[in-house]
Symmetry: C2
Subunit: 322 residues, 2 copies
């Protein structure tokens, strides 16, 4: 038996549902916002603002992650991170996550304990609780996370508030996950910081509420790719958006990888998803909060999203089943 009381090298079927849940939840620290953690019919989380922000994302093995390219711990971190980024993108502070896990009966129990270890790590990094969940049998590993957050009295920053003349800015990494995917796809396992960016994003959680405090007029989490997600803002706000490539920094590391693989790093930055940076619009007179970089401006409706005033011919963005 392992220290956690589940058989070493055993499967989830051997560990049993209740044994696994015990191993995953026992002795874990919860933040003050967790009023009642796992173990009852439902959890109770503080919602001091009297509104709760809620989002859910599902990750499927073979679609959203590969355990031969990543590790259960990174996958667990990523599953939590992508949801917390959605909370931050509303201008809210994440408070908690709930975890739905479906997996085959012969899944090694260690895959599940490492996966959930990653979830606890990312949750702790953001100061949120893992407050509840469900574990069931399925043919394929499917992870469903719901994140909750608190607005702290702020007005939510939606996708629909951008106005012509606003500044477009981003905070966080862009293009790294796409570069990592290209590296892994060619069979390489380094550079490590590029590959790890694919395995798990590092969204700038605190930048969301800060941008809201500074007057952001719209905000989105960059999950589908910068141009695609700015497209969502443009559509919801009924505006155009122009990105100026001279303002878009290409990190040296991405330039190196691009040159080695014969790929255009700008394309990764403009169309690569999965980095979960935040993109927002601000009134032009506002000093951008620390960490935010201006990359373009909001234009009149009708032109959609342009790059240097023109349609980008390698526009991308991820849509499922396509």
């Amino acid at each position: 038996m392992s220290p956690q009381g589940i058989p070493e090298n055993g499967t989830v079927a051997e560990a049993g549902e209740f044994g696994l849940i015990r191993a995953i939840t026992q002795g874990r620290r919860q933040p003050a916002s967790t009023l009642l953690g796992p173990g009852d019919d439902a959890a109770i989380v503080a919602a001091p603002d009297s509104r709760v922000v809620a989002t859910t994302d599902v990750l499927v093995q073979g679609v959203h992650f590969r355990l031969d390219w990543s590790s259960p711990e990174y996958v667990g971190r990523k599953a939590v991170a992508v949801n917390l980024a959605d909370i931050a993108a509303m201008g809210a502070t994440p408070t908690s996550v709930l975890v739905g896990l479906a997996c085959p009966a012969d899944t090694p129990a260690s895959v599940i304990t490492e996966l959930t270890e990653g979830m606890w790590i990312e949750a702790a990094r953001a100061g949120v609780g893992v407050v509840g969940g469900d574990m069931v049998r399925a043919d394929q590993l499917v992870i469903s996370i719901t994140a909750l957050g608190d607005l702290g009295g702020r007005a939510p920053v939606t996708r629909s508030g951008a106005r012509p003349g606003d500044v477009v800015a981003v905070c966080g990494r862009l293009g790294w996950a796409a570069a990592g995917l290209a590296v892994l796809g060619r069979g390489f396992r380094s550079p490590v910081n590029v590959v790890n960016a694919q395995r798990c994003p590092e969204p700038p959680y605190e930048a969301g509420p800060k941008a809201a405090d500074e007057g952001a007029t719209s905000m989105i989490d960059v999950s589908d790719g910068l141009l695609a997600d700015l497209g969502h803002i443009a559509e919801a706000s009924d505006v155009g958006i122009d990105v100026e490539t001279k303002r878009v920094a290409i990190p040296t590391r991405l330039a190196e990888v691009g040159s080695a693989l014969g790929s255009d790093p700008l394309r990764w930055v403009l169309t690569g998803g999965e980095d979960h940076a935040l993109a927002a619009t601000f009134p032009s007179f506002v000093d951008l909060p620390e960490g935010w970089t201006r990359i373009g401006s909001v234009t009149m409706p009708g032109s959609g999203v342009t790059v240097d005033g023109k349609a980008y011919d390698q526009s991308g963005g991820w849509e499922h089943w396509r």
Copy 2:
């Protein structure tokens, strides 16, 4: 094209993620508690109590439901109902659900629109909003629902407050879903009310907050089977529980089906899950709220859950992967 703008007889791949989401969410009514519905990075739900109750349940095709025994609409209703029952079992009023859906690319789009139609129906029945979700590709249909609720100033009713001398009571149907499973398993499609009980539970949502108001000391949603779930209360509260069979009514319909199939209907009532009745304990001096029936009493710790003072030899309860 159908009126909802997705191709008739098409697959989810042909409808596309964004087209499907539009078809599912467009023109839907939301309750007043939905402050911001689907379409942004996250939803915003009223939490007037300054605490939010949250639970998540995952349902997998072939494990939790079969589309040849049920229909997409019933499955959608069930997926929502089982989560709302967990909220009610805390003494809270459900306010909203978020929906994670994973399915193969060749799933008929109509399966998804009917499934989500069922979700909207059950949500409307309970007065809750469908506020957000995610749709992704997977090898198998997996439905993950998270429900949120509001305590309305009540103390939550957990599993751990039962005290020796308390009365044990239930509200809602017991044994019907198990009987329905037996009927379907033998290849029959009637009696309809028994079969439909398997397809979708009818949890008594309002009975949860009412029981809390009347002083319930512990409460649970009967999902695994009455004895198994009373066992969870007994363990969390460190008490014993005795069920008196003379107090457990066997509905005429279940007696008929039991006799036709050569099965003991009492076993369905005591060990069958999936009806999502509520079981609770109350101080002995309390008049039980309307709809609740006394079925036993809380005893001293040590004996676990007994039936007429003895261990029940066909004790059941559902554990995954076993």
